[in-house]
Symmetry: C2
Subunit: 874 residues, 2 copies
């Protein structure tokens, strides 16, 4: 038997969202619970998938099923497509599993042609209505289905109005409209080289095809990639009998929410317009009325609607967003769906629905999109201040939040001015690792160049600093200390304000208000903590980050990158001295300078984290990252260090690598230079003992060895750590406990995790590097071809954003199962960007990980995502 591709509304239900799409499933559900829904049917998402595998052709089987369904409905309605007395008209709407911008707009009045329009005129006894419907249909069909510019038609109608000296469309006579129809048809023929189709079935097939095609237009593709929606899902098409809101003063149309989508307040919220079709509400030509007005205008109908709304909310256990039409005093429901809402409203609705007994805590948690929390964690502009602000440019929303300050053109300047209590925005062409301190000091960062994964963007997100990157038309002249936007010059005395959630830049200072972590937010977080299994740690390199993360609910530090500490201007010199050293003794002298600095860093972290675990990763990047690379910079360094230029040059040359990502870094550094590992061990353990003695905390340092691929590598470094640490602990008569574990970021480490677990006391999966090596491409270089991969649908997702659960995930699962075979209670976590991604967190929960570690501002998101994963898996 042939596959079923077409479902009458009466044949479906809300659970069939995958096949019928969201809109279709809800129309079916409403039909079945007896609400007044115009009859119709849904062409399934599977038909869409079939359409693509048939090289964009709607095959005969699908066509037959469509026409069969159509004739059933015609019989029910006792109308006929294209009939000259009682013509059947339909609307055509797209409807994927989740609502998606970029998809095809609605087409109304399909089925009208030169004959049917007469029938409609006779039947309604309203020729003007009939011809205007036909005119609208030709325009809509030409634009939406055939791609003829809407403005072409608008120009024609405007010309007529100008000639007749009239303003409103309502003033056009039936003859005017008939005339317009003739002109529209001519335009259609000129553009399409075919007459406007008179056969309603052909009109319908064109429309269905247009919906299917819109699934794959470029806007839809981008949206899907950003929202983890696979191309295979496809879209459904809903064909529904027309009801008319424009049949006169007892007809109308409107939209409404069961609660306020901005605040979450419990009150019917919406607007409507009498004698109008849906497009008129949206177009804004006439001003709609608030839904509460309907109570006065038609109390019976209003009560009916309120009851339906209440029942739908109860039925779907969520705030509903509904569309309705009134045809000659009769109410029809055209759509219902869970309403989109702001993050704030989303928390309010969730908490209210639990309080109202409509949802359990678990159900409520599942209703909140974890990523939406991000908007609640950062300062925002005061709405009143924002209204008065002047937008001067827009870039990429690289890191959320809002901030203002005077313009600062260098990291050093930003640091100094911040110390002098000035608020500054750091404005750079692009940023580099040396800018970190300045980025930290600033209220926000703007870069002229760079994308969402540029250095500035990644670092800013990590530290929760707002950032706008890649701003077109923005010129930065750091030498002259000038910022030029659209020809206007700004100096370091001028202030700007930036919104990293939208990418907007404003002139002057726009007042901000801080994020609130109490109230509904706190309630939701407490529920999340109740149900999640995963622990949530944070990636933090400074006490400030650590404190922020603890405020957001972090339960430990999963990753402290010690190298970030070496970029500070007072440390980089000692670091470079160490690198340029040619003997172990020289190197030791430089390391002795770094020791007290590292120690004080670690003490700061231990103060902040108290008795929570603090995982410190030993030096990881290739040493040449710390060295200058231009002749000028090398000369400056040579002068500062009092060595010859050639010495610096030789060191830089010697450390050059063809593939630094696969070079001398990670534990390989500790193996070549054990004295670095000794210094770092000393700094960690002495800091821990001192903080324990000062504060009485049971400090929990965990030392993490990066880039291990073989048990012997790990063992070698672990032995160094233990020999130094145990002696310090013994000498100081401390009872401090520490652990030594490893990163799993080399494929071989995952493959041989059982061996490595013989010695490693914990695993932390470094998904960034593991992704690079599992795929064999470098994050820095993949940009050159990933664009093509998306275009050609080879990849739909960036594996650096969303964990590749099939490939990289398989290695993670191996690491967990092999590691725990050897050491049953082995803690396994992940650090790296994926630690804050809800999809990836869900994978981590299912893979049995102990914790995920993410940047401080992702901690609340991770808490919620972890709870959802746990609830889902039951």
């Amino acid at each position: 038997m042939a596959k079923k591709y077409v479902y009458l509304f009466s044949e479906g239900n809300a659970d069939m969202r995958n096949i019928l799409g969201g809109k279709g499933a809800n129309l079916a559900e409403m039909t079945n619970i007896g609400l007044p829904v115009p009859h119709g049917f849904t062409i399934s998402t599977e038909a869409c998938t079939q359409y693509y595998s048939d090289n964009k052709c709607i095959n005969e089987e699908i066509q037959n099923q469509i026409f069969e369904a159509l004739s059933k409905i015609e019989k029910q309605q006792n109308k006929k497509f294209g009939d000259n007395t009682n013509p059947y008209l339909v609307s055509v709407r797209s409807g994927a599993r989740v609502s998606m911008p970029g998809m095809m707009d609605t087409i109304l009045n399909l089925g009208l042609n030169d004959v049917a329009v007469e029938g409609l005129a006779k039947k309604t006894n309203n020729p003007r209505f009939a011809y205007d419907s036909y005119r609208r249909f030709i325009q809509m069909f030409s634009d939406v289905v055939m791609g003829v510019e809407k403005s072409t038609f608008e120009k024609i109608i405007d010309d007529v109005k100008t000639k007749k000296h009239i303003v409103s469309d309502l003033e056009l006579t039936t003859d005017d409209i008939k005339n317009l129809i003739q002109q529209y048809k001519k335009v259609y023929f000129e553009h399409i080289n075919e007459d406007f189709p008179q056969d309603p079935k052909i009109q319908l097939m064109y429309a269905v095809k247009a919906v299917f095609d819109s699934w794959d237009n470029s806007r839809a593709v981008v949206y899907r990639r950003m929202n983890d929606i696979p191309a295979e899902w496809g879209t459904a098409v809903n064909i529904q009998s027309m009801v008319f809101g424009n049949m006169g003063e007892t007809s109308g149309t409107g939209v409404a929410f069961t609660r306020n989508p901005s605040t979450g307040e419990k009150a019917l919220y919406g607007e409507y317009l009498m004698n109008a079709q849906g497009e008129d509400v949206v177009a804004g030509v006439r001003t709609p009325m608030p839904i509460s007005q309907l109570k006065n205008q038609n109390p019976k109908l209003y009560d009916q609607f309120v009851e339906i709304a209440y029942n739908l909310e109860k039925h779907y256990k969520d705030m509903q967003d509904m569309e309705f039409t009134i045809e000659e005093g009769k109410l029809y429901m055209l759509q219902t769906r869970n309403g989109k809402r702001t993050a704030q409203a989303s928390l309010q609705v969730a908490v209210d629905l639990v309080n109202e007994g409509m949802l359990t805590e678990k159900e409520a948690l599942m209703k909140i999109e974890p990523k939406s929390l991000d908007a609640l964690l950062h300062p925002t502009f005061k709405p009143s201040a924002l209204k008065a602000a002047t937008k001067i440019a827009t870039g990429l929303p690289a890191s959320p939040g809002a901030g203002y300050g005077k313009i600062s053109f260098s990291a050093e300047d930003a640091k100094v001015r911040t110390q002098n209590k000035e608020k500054v925005i750091l404005v750079r062409l692009e940023t580099s690792p040396e800018d970190i301190e300045g980025m930290y000091s600033a209220q926000g960062i703007v870069t002229a160049r760079g994308g969402m994964t540029s250095h500035a963007a990644v670092v800013a997100r990590g530290m929760g600093r707002t950032c706008v990157a890649g701003v077109p038309g923005l010129i930065v002249d750091a030498d002259k200390k000038l910022l030029i936007i659209n020809g206007k010059q700004y100096t370091e005395k001028d202030s700007i304000s930036i919104d990293g959630s939208t990418g907007h830049i404003y002139d002057g200072e726009v007042a901000t208000e801080p994020a609130s972590l109490t109230g509904n937010f706190a309630t939701i977080m407490s529920w999340a903590d109740k149900y999640r299994k995963l622990h949530i740690h944070t990636n933090a390199d400074t006490p400030k980050d650590a404190e922020q993360a603890v405020k957001f609910g972090a339960e430990g530090i999963g990753l402290c990158r010690t190298e970030h500490m070496f970029f500070d201007s007072d440390r980089i010199m000692a670091m470079r001295e160490m690198i340029v050293s040619t003997t172990e003794e020289e190197r030791q002298v430089a390391l002795d300078k770094l020791l007290p600095m590292q120690k004080s860093d670690f003490k700061g972290l231990f103060y902040a984290m108290k008795e929570m675990p603090v995982t410190i990763r030993f030096l990881d990047p290739p040493l040449h990252e710390f060295l200058p690379h231009t002749v000028d910079e090398m000369n400056i360094l040579a002068n500062q260090m009092n060595v010859k230029y050639e010495t610096i040059k030789n060191t830089v040359d010697r450390l050059h690598e063809f593939n630094p990502m696969l070079g001398h870094r990670g534990c390989r550094l500790s193996i070549t230079y054990p004295e670095i590992a000794r210094m770092q061990t000393r700094a960690v353990i002495e800091a821990a003992i001192e903080v324990a003695n000062e504060k009485g905390y049971k400090v929990h340092p965990e030392i993490m060895i990066p880039l291990v691929g073989d048990l012997k590598e790990f063992k070698y470094v672990k032995n160094i750590v233990k020999s130094v640490a145990d002696k310090i602990i013994f000498d100081s008569k401390s009872d401090i406990k520490y652990k030594v574990g490893t990163m799993i970021e080399i494929p071989r480490a995952a493959l041989l995790a059982d061996e490595i677990a013989q010695e490693a006391e914990f695993f932390s999966v470094g998904t960034n590097d593991l992704t690079q090596m599992t795929f064999g491409f470098s994050r820095d270089d993949a940009g050159a071809f990933l664009g093509n991969y998306y275009d050609k649908k080879i990849f739909e997702q960036d594996p650096f954003q969303k964990l590749d659960t099939k490939g990289v995930g398989k290695l993670i699962e191996m690491a967990v199962s092999l590691g725990r075979k050897e050491r049953p209670n082995l803690p396994v976590g992940i650090c790296g960007e994926h630690g804050g991604d809800p999809y990836s967190i869900s994978f981590c929960h299912n893979a049995g990980l102990t914790y995920v570690s993410c940047s401080p501002y992702r901690v609340p998101i991770a808490r919620l995502a972890a709870a959802q994963a746990s609830i889902k898996s039951k």
Copy 2:
């Protein structure tokens, strides 16, 4: 019960090689089959391993067992350590599982001290013998055990002889010797700061410790790495009762082989010396006599020895290398082992032993070291010519073989002169990809710089051209066309000769003789082919390579790297034109120029391979490898191409990558530029059809897509290939069959091999890249730290030489089992350097691979190794 660490010879046998070492196991075996072996015992290899895990300390248990064995032997011999009437003396020798240069030398006469020497004098009634033995012992012990320079002692003895105007040691009187002993002891004290140990047990423990320590000296470590010997094996120590070949004219010592180790000829071969200890034979002070002389001197003893030799060979089923001592007319066997032999002898012996019925073919195959075949595959210098040659320098033996010619300083020059029938040796500072043609033309290559894995070395080995690399003291001035060796200047008119098997460079022309692939070689190969399961393919990019490989027995081409074809001077321009193109149209113009060239390459390969499979890999390296990088070179290219310098510069900059190994290469190129894949497909398929039509061969092209990590990547490129290929085949009415398969060289491809096998018709594991990504280090950069890894015993092997069977091997096994789950008859091969490595081939056999592909000169080695793997696995 305590572990047994010490075994009397009577307690062991030949099968206990792992515990007793080769020497110990054979001493035990000889003892047990009733041969005259002086009594003794072996300290096991496990004692050595224990010594290292006890931080280089011989623990009490082991000491006790040693002394217990010692006292048993003392009782048997009725002698006592240090006794003043009948002192017990021993020799101490190292003995690992396999004999290993760099290990500790023998110590003789241990047990002598100031008292025992008197006993020995009395007992033998030969004071001079006794004191001379003591003197020798002190010297040997000081040198070998305590590291006091031998020359220190030699100087003392020389001084005495000078003073006394005598020449031979034999002229020294007993008093002279007593005097020397005093002086030796003084030297010992000065160096060691201790008196020469008088307690024989202390002497013994020092000696044992010295043997254990020698297992880990740097020479031994290097040897182990080169020969795949793990550090865990350890060495045994053999303690054996002394017998004296220096007790007078009825005593003597010697060594002998059961067959000629140079030629394999069946005849006792060896030499001996009367009234001498083993060291005298080696030292070369006196000239030993051929073993056949013994027949005249002592026919009875000679016959006894011949019988023993015959029996040992029969017993061990292999040519034996024996040491013996005659003490006052009595024969003692001190050692037997399978004799080392030349490659030529090894084949002769194997064939003879089969003919003699002593070995089966399978057993004979197991006796031949596959790598040794290499020496038989290349031309060698005529022995007579070599004798007369003058060696002028020595570098690294980078690629075996011998050759001579006039010096050529550039690849272009080498090419032109070779075309003019001159023989040249290409001499360069180092080579680069553009030199390939010149390297190919030359008789051999010398580079001043670079190691065993430099470009020159790798490429030369691949093409079977002899090469000497990294020659110290060699100065190349290519501009002036001067080669300077030790101050002497050579011009392009001078000839040199090079031996890439030894690294030697000779003045002038040294005559060579070609390799012979008939006779014993052909016999052995035919046996190997009978027993192996693996097919042997070759990596060949040119018809010449392919023909060579077929001569060596290759059954197909497993890897043709198409990019090598683009470096030819007449093609690189078209290639660069393609790269600099900014539109698909421009690129197509350049590709149209490349098409006929590629096609003729492929035709050449198909002619050479006839009906064997030819696997052609599509363009793999990042495009920037084809571009010049210096300003001068870029200017030249800009002129040649008639574009602006900036255009070239921009392209070079645009293509720059941070980690090219993880960059835009492999199938990623075909996805970005499908027109490249289309051109290559057209070239392969048109060439195949033309050759099939011309010759009537059933040509078997196999197209291989590199660097695939995802099914969709493969599918995308396969679709391009199929659409082009199928149309050509259809249009030309050909019935040619082709396959499309993939490299497995990205970890993800191995992890998801089941998915990829849905579309891929064969797998070829690219172990070079797979090793890089599995370990996360790049071959080009690993040099910076691998040295430390070897020093610190983190790695004992270079994973690029010897397959990492644990990690990379696990991925290969996954690829095989997942791939065949989806496609049961999936052919899986490997290409890459490991394809010619016997250890790796053995892994491939066990992993169920279909074939290995290696460079032409490795094909015979691979055939033998594959046979051995197959025989072993049964």
